[in-house]
């Protein structure tokens, strides 16, 4: 009985659950055998390179496209049969939102309100004003949509998603076209929505942004789910210790010493990488729990190598993402290049990674 209650309680808290969800366009399998689980109150990051199947998944969840196989259950209801009952509980942006160009922002929301089950006329004016103010479009509420900038269009998309105050907010690249201040505001908004108990499903390229707002993530590549879990747990898996020495020779010596220690049985060392930091200086990254920082320091000191800097290295979601989605690249190079790229998009970073690969191949590189 207790077991049943626990199970029922768990099930009632599952907002999105997909099972073997698959979508193929002819021979191209856009999403393959996807198992996702999003719980009530989650701020769920949905990550993946371009063409990995994120938008296709979102479209399947919203009933815009039909799965080739598998099923999706939202709020305990099967999307194949109960979509009209599911959709009113969702607010969504799918890619760049598009509205009626001949209507103003407020009039577009009025139309969407009517389509979303809200009463027509002036009754919902207060709500329209609220959401426009929330996305800071209240000043341009009566301006024609065709005169909106890309950022303003994106904000109106968010306003439309929040119009009916839905339980689940599904955002596909919500910060596209927004300036840094706009991105910050969206992050704040997501935090605020999460604090109100809303479940957020956020698809984004901006890993830094996802790391800051999401508690759980799923990473997709070529239509396959390669990782799903708690952000903290994912980051814990990438624990490292950063060692900075004065010269390149010292770094190379230190690398040899640590590799020898590993061979001799120091199993707390997983790998050692040489990387360049943002200032272009070489540093050593040791894949090791941060609690072993003292051991690393002592080991180097015994060999007359004194670190100028030694501290646990805070991994980022960006690095985890790159490790998972570009497995052919040595992790040290990835991390170094990720650091170099510093907050840029995954796409931009792949260019840096290629540079790192060349360095790693011994063609004029340090490693």
């Amino acid at each position: 009985m207790l077991q049943e209650n626990i199970e029922a309680s768990f099930q009632s808290n599952v907002i999105i659950s997909t099972s073997r969800l698959t979508k193929a366009f002819g021979r191209l399998v856009a999403v393959n055998d996807l198992h996702l689980q999003v719980m009530r109150g989650d701020v769920f990051g949905f990550l993946g390179p371009n063409g990995s199947g994120k938008t296709t998944t979102i479209r399947m969840l919203l009933g815009l496209i039909r799965p080739t196989a598998g099923r999706a259950v939202m709020f305990g209801m099967d999307t194949a049969q109960q979509m009209p009952s599911i959709l009113p509980r969702i607010g969504a942006i799918v890619e760049t939102p598009v509205f009626y160009p001949y209507l103003s922002g407020a009039d577009n929301l009025r139309v969407i309100g009517a389509a979303s089950g809200m009463v027509s006329g002036k009754a919902n004016q207060r709500r329209i004003d609220e959401v426009l103010e929330l996305v800071e479009l209240h000043v341009q509420a009566k301006t024609s949509y065709r005169k909106y900038s890309l950022g303003m269009k994106q904000r109106l998309g968010i306003a439309a998603a929040l119009l009916t105050d839905p339980e689940l907010v599904l955002l596909d690249e919500p910060t596209n076209g927004l300036d840094p201040a706009g991105m910050f505001e969206i992050r704040q908004l997501i935090h605020r929505l999460a604090s109100l108990g809303k479940t957020i499903f956020l698809s984004s390229h901006l890993l830094n942004e996802v790391q800051q707002v999401c508690n759980r993530v799923a990473i997709l590549q070529k239509g396959n789910l390669i990782k799903q879990g708690n952000v903290r747990e994912l980051l814990r898996g990438s624990e490292q210790v950063l060692v900075r020495l004065n010269t390149l020779e010292e770094i190379q010596q230190a690398k040899i010493i640590l590799e020898e220690a590993k061979q001799r049985g120091a199993d707390w060392i997983s790998a050692i990488h040489v990387q360049m930091d943002r200032q272009g200086q070489s540093t050593l990254l040791v894949d090791s729990p941060k609690s072993y920082s003292t051991e690393i320091n002592a080991l180097l000191a015994r060999n007359s190598l004194f670190a100028a800097e030694l501290h646990p290295y805070e991994g980022s979601l960006e690095e985890v993402f790159l490790q998972l989605t570009t497995p052919s690249v040595p992790s040290g190079s990835r991390q170094g290049m990720a650091a170099l790229a510093g907050g840029s998009s995954a796409k931009q970073q792949s260019g840096f990674i290629k540079g790192a690969e060349r360095l790693g191949n011994g063609k004029g590189g340090i490693e």
């Binding site: 479209r59 815009l64 890619e95 509205f99 139309v111 979303s116 089950g117 027509s120 919902n124 105050d165």
Partner: protein
Amino acid sequence: MSVTPQTNAGEVRTESVILGKQSYIPVLLRLIGMEIYKLRRRIMSKVLLSITIIIAILVFLLFSLNTFFVLNAPPENFAPPCSSSSGPSIGQSQPNCPPPSAAQVAQFREGALRSASEPLRLPTSLSIAVQVALSAGTILIIILMGSSAGGEFSIGTVRLMYTRGPTRLQFLLAKVGVATLCAAIGILTMSITGILTGQALNALSSIPQSLDFLSAGWIAHALLYLLIAMLDWFIYATIAIFFGTLGRSTVAGIVGALTWLFVEPILGSILKLAGTFSQGPFGNFLKAIPDYFIGNNTGALLQNQGQYIFGGSVSSLSDLHALVVLAVYLAAFIGLSWWINEHRDVTN
């Protein structure tokens, strides 16, 4: 942000969100209201409505030119006939006849004026107004509904709408509902404008509008006549919706329906001609095909009602035949639009 629990589905929404009834018909009615609102706010709708009014006025202005010429013609143009074999002649010199008296000229002038101004008065003006609506006006309703249905795909708003809750069938029915309304408004606007313009221009002729024809039966048939005209517009509007949905664009909606509108009578003539040349059952078959065309069947319905309003002959096609054929067309276009919508993935 204050929140209040909603009774439905245990959802929690902020109190400023006021939801209406969520059963099928109220949702559909709200969607129709939304479609009307969108049309009302579009410049194109206003432009098309203005064009319908202008066309109706222009056509009656053209008809009034005849009255104007008769009014300004010299008296010798209204010479009475010389012999019983020839009827009243206008503008013909009668060298062997005695000059007509002033009373004769006045009588023939009034006869010519009555004949020239006939299209400006009821019931003929109703026929002209409806015929104008069914020719030029059909193009306008096709443009309106083709852009309304296809535009959702062209602009990309279909993605936004299909993720809001109502079913795809409800969205389609809302378009069909608004097409019905537009057909009714359009036909009434063109008919009333035409009739009123005709009445105003008829004042030039000083011939009063006779209301002898007016009876309860006449009004009933006139209303049916207008309803048939609305049905004709509605069918072409659904064709525009169908092609707009099929081709996922405004252009597809407009071009598809216009092609249907213009190709059908040409094809009908070709088939009739081919049927005449090909003797036997095959020829009869070819000649019978146009009996199942939209234009011929709406034409038959109009003709069958027209005999009560304007006189004239009955169509070779019965009302029942025409109504069944048109119902099949409507069911096919709306059904296919629904099927396409239901089974199609909405991508970009």
